[in-house]
Amino acid sequence: MGLIGIGGQGRIHLRNCLRLKKAKLIGVADISETSLKFAKKLGIRNVYKNYDDLLSNQQIDAVIISLPNFLHFESVTKAAEAGKDIFLEKPLARNVAEGRKILSNVKRNGVKLMLGYNMRFTTTLRKLHEKIADGFFGEVEIVQATNVSHGPFTPKGGIKTLRSVPSWWFNKDLAGGGALLDLGSHLINLLSWYFGEVKNVESYLGYKFNMELEDSAICILKFRTGPLATINVGWFSKDLIQSIQICGTAKNLSMHLSPPSISHLIFRDIRRKLGIFKYDSYYTELKYFVECLWNDASPSPSGEEGLSDLQVISMAYKHSHNLA
């Protein structure tokens, strides 16, 4: 495997790649010397400043692409043309048109494409999927999902260290969208996995930070299968919360996903210190991707699912109310 992009998310993938049993990380590419040094320290021999060089490495069968949104189209297209299977960090693209072009290029070159929606690989959320399918909740009528944080401005590594925010995050053309695309895409993908196709969307967007991009959004989704869902996302808070509430005819459930409890964090750190690796959602999704490649199976979340998420987001932007 090869890894393109060793920013915040890329570093998570890099560490996880090194733990994969059925795949070997052959090389990494990034424009930053610091990032390449980081990869070298972890034992990666082939480091490239230009990802074209990584793509021309014949030893590499598949690539993980963890680049800014505005580079997805070009990098996926080049990777597909080089015949590499692709794991792409969400979102698929900046908009529906770009997403369609990506899918067409992937299809034309006959490679596999999986999108990195790590929430889909969280143990509790996977169990929830089973429960919904098993009818545990009866008919689900109302769902509320929340993902509020400081978004791209969040201090790194859980430690209160302020970080420099790459300029593309502030640019609508380069990012494609704000909190709704960044955080909302996770929840839209998750709820679509649970409940199927979205029939109607309406949204309320907030612009507290006076940017072109929305920094908060409330989205109301009506699913063809019946449930009415509200998703709340925001980049405005110093604090972090991820939660989901499901109300059905037979059972209701409220689940707090993040921040994790102090005891959870302590156990995680002790395990790390002792070298006992815990399989988190980022690792699990990569492991699954590799399994799909070995078994020649189609991975999910697929490119088509990613396109469908973009269509919902596009509808949400179209049918949005600016309450400012």
Binding site: I159, L162, V165, S167, N210, K238, I266, D269, R272
Partner: protein
């Protein structure tokens, strides 16, 4: 000893705020009877936090300060709201995100990114450290400097208020290089640039948590003001290295006379960290050192 005033605004309206700022200035016997043509205002815009978190100076507060000076000075001076880029924060974004662009338009004042201004290198020695600062020329060209800080805890230097806010007057953007001698760097910049007046935006304060206090503090002496702020936060000023050092360097006086609102009342209202909080914090930082360094 220097005067430090404490005034609480009746509510968060602009009129109540202006009244409180005016009273806080009267209490420290500040006189507007002077000729000022160019006023520089230095708020705290440390990061992309909304002012409601208590982390950054509210643009409404700065707007009220501008109004008061315009109403009380015999001539209408030019105002410049200044901040510099930092390792993690860029002025071109923070001015807009915090709403300062709106104030600039409404009040016809200029927003200045100090990192883009002409500057002069000044080398200085503090407590055995040789430090180099890049001092923007605007500070030499202006007649009056108003420091408008927040009042907050900060792990490395215990408190951040008037003295620490001046740190942002250094044009050099990669400020993390000063972190090896942060106390000395804070004192160094205050030796070079001295504010004429400090007015603290204590509308929303950030202690162990965020709290609306509608508090205004003012002083002509940044060290006295920080000593008072430190006291309010439950920290002995003589245990704050930057304050002791600043006093030794004759930047100001560690002793202060509180005027206005009962000092004990202000102290009681501030969400100060309890002994339990401090123990928890020490344990947390020890823990982070073990597991995350």
């Amino acid at each position: 000893m220097s005067l430090v005033s404490f005034v609480r605004a009746n509510d968060s309206s602009i009129d109540a705020l202006k009244k409180a700022i005016k009273r806080s200035l009267n209490l420290i016997r500040f006189s507007f009877a002077r000729s000022i043509n160019k006023i520089v205002i230095k708020p705290n815009m440390c990061y992309y936090y909304p002012p409601s978190t208590g982390e950054v100076t509210s643009p409404q507060f700065v707007s009220a300060v501008i109004d008061i000076f315009r109403e009380n000075l015999s001539i209408n001076p030019d105002f410049f709201i200044v901040e510099s880029d930092a390792s993690a924060m860029k002025c071109k974004y923070v001015f807009k995100m915090l709403g300062y662009h709106r104030i600039a338009k409404e009040k016809n004042v200029k927003l200045i990114n100090l990192s883009e201004e002409k500057n002069k290198i000044v080398d200085i020695k503090v407590n055995g450290w040789y430090l180099r600062f890049y001092i923007p020329e605007i500070f030499h060209e202006s007649d009056f400097l108003i420091n408008v800080p927040k009042i907050k805890y900060m792990a490395d230097v215990k408190i951040t208020c008037a003295l620490k806010n001046m740190y942002g007057c250094n044009a050099y953007p990669r400020k993390s290089i000063y972190h090896v001698a942060l106390n000395e760097a804070i004192v160094g910049i205050n030796k070079i640039i001295k504010p004429d007046l400090v007015i603290v935006d204590g509308l929303i304060v950030y202690g162990k948590n965020t709290r609306r206090l509608n508090l205004v503090m003012a002083s002509k002496d940044p060290v006295a003001l920080d000593a008072a702020a430190s006291n309010v936060m439950g920290i002995d000023p003589t245990s704050v290295h930057q304050l002791v050092l600043a006093s030794k360097e004759n930047i100001g006086n560690l002793e202060f006379i509180p005027v206005g609102e009962a000092f004990s009342y202000v102290k009681q209202s501030f969400p100060a960290k309890s002994v339990k909080d401090k123990i928890r914090e020490t344990l947390a930082s020890t823990y982070l050192r073990i597991f995350h360094e």
